[in-house]
Symmetry: C2
Subunit: 230 residues, 2 copies
DNA sequence: ATAATGATACTGTCCGACAAATTATTATGG
DNA sequence: CCATAATAATTTGTCGGACAGTATCATTAT
């Protein structure tokens, strides 16, 4: 059993090369790319391969093709490249601290927003989610229920952008299994904290919800937040 | 000039149909897709078209193809769909308020972080950027210099995730030209505010920097932040 | 000067073919 | 009967060519 030989697929290679030229502003935002036939000759591949490369870049928004006219670099190409970079950064354990700190900054604010914005029904549902946590007997189930609570709270902020950012960070943290090492006892204690947060939100107490959430996160993530006072 | 007839490109249509089947869990995460030839027959298009559709979905991470084996739905397909949704949300003017509110929440915190984390050289450079603002005579140049200041301040938070989120939101706001209607006089007044913020950061005054940034943003974006007290 | 016309260039779609990689099946030897 | 090797079948990767449909631009006509 030898090491897997990574055969770089041509269309990926071509897509990367095109991306590189956009990144280095060799082809600038809004400009037209050379025709597919020309690119094929330049990269020494078939036109089909060039097309597949362009298709892959098109869905990310980096390139737009118009039949009869040509393929154009997106006007906001830099933003798109940057977004892709961000995804890579978030997936890197090296930046775990930043990820935790981001969550620590976002979530208390979102709790405050939720307290101010959530409807009565939403508040009831949030309390219900705490009850569901208390019902769980398995450690894994308890974690999942806790995650559901936090996600729902984020939604109650009624800010889709903030919610999106928060989800990205929280999902990433979960996939990194950062809190898996916590003992079940710690989780059990957490239920009461969740209940207090839910009650503050239900009471419309923005400042209280914010403060309770901060304390809750500090307890779970304390090891990562030593330099974050505030 | 009639309405532009939107001729849906076949590969886009196919890509959307494939996406729909993944979204509805008809094809689940990790599963193998039917072979390209079969998909071609089912969608009644050529294999080339199916391939271009798959390529476009591959770069976003929704599908992974292995030569000789098949194409598979990514294990984290749901997260990817969600991220794509976020990009669409941010580009929608309907959610302008949320975008502004997000910036209003992120940036003061980042100013505080910058005050605590930035090096002496970085602080000097930040002050230099304020001076550069004061030098600008053209309205457009002044706006650009202001943008550069905010971006640099975000970087000084020394948190790459937060910085990435902030950039996404700020760039999006700029591309929507939200602040273009402000008069040049307002921008001129803003220079002094920037200077105060820079000085607070340079002095390591986290609370002060945060408060000054809040006031600054409230002034520019006040119309969008009426419901955001705090 | 403006509008219609046509030439040209380019992308969109299809087809067919073969190579290369993987997986499934069969054959072989113990 | 089992483990392993050889073989076949399946599937993606790449190529080349062909033609249609659309946009762009120069030319011509009004």
């Amino acid at each position: 059993m030898s090491e897997p030989i990574f055969r770089v697929k041509l269309y990926e290679d071509v897509a990367d090369r095109i991306t590189a030229r956009i990144r280095t502003a060799q082809w600038r935002a809004g400009e037209r790319l050379p025709p597919e036939a020309e690119l094929a000759k330049e990269f020494d591949v078939s036109r089909s391969t060039v097309r597949e490369a362009i298709r892959s870049l098109q869905r990310t928004g980096l390139i737009r093709s118009k039949a009869g006219s040509g393929s154009y670099v997106a006007p906001n190409a830099p933003v798109i490249l940057q977004t892709r970079e961000l995804a890579a950064i978030m997936g890197d354990r090296e930046h775990l601290h930043d990820l935790v700190q981001t969550r620590y900054i976002l979530e208390p604010q979102m709790a405050a927003l939720a307290a101010a914005q959530a409807t009565d029904e939403e508040k009831r549902h949030l309390c219900y989610l705490v009850d569901r946590m208390a019902e769980q007997t398995e450690r894994f189930e308890l974690m999942a229920a806790g995650h559901a609570f936090h996600m729902e709270l984020a939604r109650l902020s009624h800010n889709v952008v903030l919610d999106g950012f928060y989800r990205s960070a929280a999902d990433q943290l979960r996939s990194m299994r950062v809190l898996d090492s916590l003992t079940e006892a710690v989780y059990r204690d957490g239920i009461e904290e969740h209940r207090q947060i839910a009650q503050a939100v239900a009471a419309g107490d923005a400042a209280g919800a914010k403060q309770l959430m901060k304390a809750h996160l500090k307890k779970d993530y304390g090891a990562y937040l030593q330099d974050t006072e505030e």
